[in-house]
Amino acid sequence: MAQAQVPVTVLTGYLGAGKTTLLNRILSEQHGKKYAVIVNEFGELGVDNDLVVNADEEVFEMNNGCICCTVRGDLIRIIEGLMKRKDKFDGILVETTGLADPGPVAQTFFTDDDVKARTRLDAIVTVVDAKHFLAQLGQGTEAQEQVAFADVILLNKTDLVSADDLEKVEARIAAINPYARIHKTEKSRIELAAILDKGAFDLKRILEFEPDFLEHGHDHNHEEEVKSLSITSDRPVDPDKFQKWMGALLQIKGPDIFRSKGILAIDGAPKRYVYQGVHMMMDADWGTPWKAGEKRASKLVFIGRDLDGDNLKRGFEDCLK
């Protein structure tokens, strides 16, 4: 039976940021849609719903020699189980614990064939506590990584901070990850359309999701340990050289590269080449054709830890014709 892939939204955020409040909204509001919710702490949700499944966040390392190929086996099992049900879902939401690394959840959707056949990773949504975010940055790497991984950020509890402080928080978020879409919220109040079915991992929708993706570079703040880097060029890319370089780069730097994506103008190709990656896992495909007379340009984005911008730029330039 040919089935549509069910979109999966990953919901991350530090302890107390407002994830549970958001999930309760999604489960209790009358939106006429059916969502399965995979939570890490049963009973935290006030809603009694048989579509709430408890998960244990069981991460394992793939036995393929790659130390960053960590995957959530429990998710594979739960998604397989959910697909046995008669009732189909409009979406699945996966909540991670406040201290979880979003990497393994995301990588599960790149790794497992059964999961890939039945579901698609839609977006990583991170709830940020406007009042405590700056302090949380100093308490460990989690708060920073959750922002780095995000496609959509709910900057929550904005009613609890002054306009000045809110600006500071926004600036820090932008310094780590300028590509995420930020929604300012109080009590996690948000239109579901702003966080669900975003297609952030859909190769065909990279441009749609970020219409200004090719427009301007966002290279600011070099002090952040976790930050984003973009590289652009209007010279055509040699596909073989690029593949070699990117392959080697991910082998070595994979654990430190949280997200990567790009649009490439491949030498002589009529279509854009687009890719998306989480750590070492990557999906790539041909995108829309270049229009006649359109300026062909490539852009690569990395979000990660301790990225060496000069080295990356030199590496990419070696792949150009």
Partner: protein
């Protein structure tokens, strides 16, 4: 062949101990029981119900009914008159995989990180917790031990009156299927990395077989324990375990190439045949002696999700992911 449609995916199918009844566990929570005599009318004898999806269904080793488990956290003993007895109820958990031991009458179930053993009299014992959720369970040949698959290996527990420390057999990665060999000497697992792994239990040695294009979720040992059949290939694939074992040997691959990949394989309960269901809906029966196979159901585009032989090996039950409940009498 009889095909009865339903509107929920078939998660599991099984015959009763006496072979007179066939059961199908569905994704809407129903277990539908039919006469296994294909000449009888195709109306359900009984339809006991789980509140979520049925996850597993086996013949009851202590009676002529069934045992079912579901994502409602319930483990049920099902009688043919539709009566249900709750063996276990673990709220908020899924009772996932089941296996039965014919002579001892015990049943083993995987529930989260635990393996749950229910003896003939209904007594419950828990084994675990394991380091991660138990993905598959099985009994040893004599029923004195159970094997549980989880991350980074398997654990073997003695389930006799004396509690012995468990034995761990390590191999990195996630083990998703487990079958104890019919002679009790080996345990085979399928892994997340598209391999199979086999341990010689007494010697604690192990071997790894690679080259599958997908996860091997279905494993089945031949009745004489000479062959281990595996899914996830377009033809029947059997590893030779007679004599010195399969080390250094290729598997025997035989039969007509089917459409797609095998999703389920089931060795005949006594003879040298094997049944296989494909992700395309095709069904084949293979004969390892002649190395030939016959198509018993054509491709229809809906994956075969489960497969079971009747105890006398004359009939096959199968289910599909679009809800077809199939019964095939090979004598007709």
């Amino acid at each position: 062949m009889r095909s009865v449609p339903s509107d929920a995916p078939v998660a599991a199918c099984a015959f009763s101990r006496d072979g007179a009844t066939v059961g199908f566990g569905l994704g809407d929570g129903r277990v539908r029981l039919f006469s296994a005599d294909i000449k009888q009318p195709a109306s359900a004898i009984a339809e006991p119900v789980h509140t979520g999806a049925v996850l597993s269904l086996i013949g009851d080793p202590t009676a002529d009914g069934f045992v079912s488990s579901g994502d409602d956290g319930r483990l049920l003993r099902l009688a043919l008159d539709g009566g249900m007895t709750e063996i276990a109820h673990q709220k908020g958990k899924w009772i996932d995989k089941l296996a039965a031991h014919r002579t001892t009458g015990a049943v083993v179930a995987s529930v989260g990180k635990m393996a749950l053993v229910i003896d003939k009299a209904g007594g419950l014992r828990e084994f675990g917790p394991h380091q991660s959720t138990v993905a598959a369970v099985d009994f040893s040949k004599d029923g004195s031990r159970i094997g549980a698959a989880h991350y980074d290996g398997i654990t073997v527990w003695s389930i006799g009156a004396v509690t012995l420390p468990p034995r761990r057999f390590a191999w990195r990665g996630s083990h998703v299927a487990l079958k104890w060999s019919t002679d009790g000497k080996f345990i085979a697992t399928g892994t997340q990395e598209n391999d199979i792994h086999v341990w010689r239990i007494a010697q604690a040695t192990d071997m790894r077989m690679q080259g599958y294009p997908a996860k091997v979720k279905s494993l089945s040992w031949s009745a004489d324990a000479r062959w281990l059949y595996t899914s996830s290939q377009p033809v029947f694939t059997a590893w030779p375990f007679a004599g010195k074992g399969p080390e250094g040997k290729p598997p025997l691959q035989f039969g007509d190439e089917g459409a797609g990949l095998l999703t389920v394989v089931a060795a005949h309960p006594t003879a040298e045949y094997v049944a296989g269901g494909y992700d395309s809906g095709e069904l084949q029966v293979g004969d390892i002696k002649t190395r030939r196979s016959a198509v018993i159901r054509m491709v229809d585009g809906n994956a075969i999700t489960c497969l079971a032989w009747s105890p006398d090996g004359t009939s096959i039950a199968a289910g599909t992911d679009n809800g077809d409940m199939l019964l095939i009498d090979l004598r007709r």
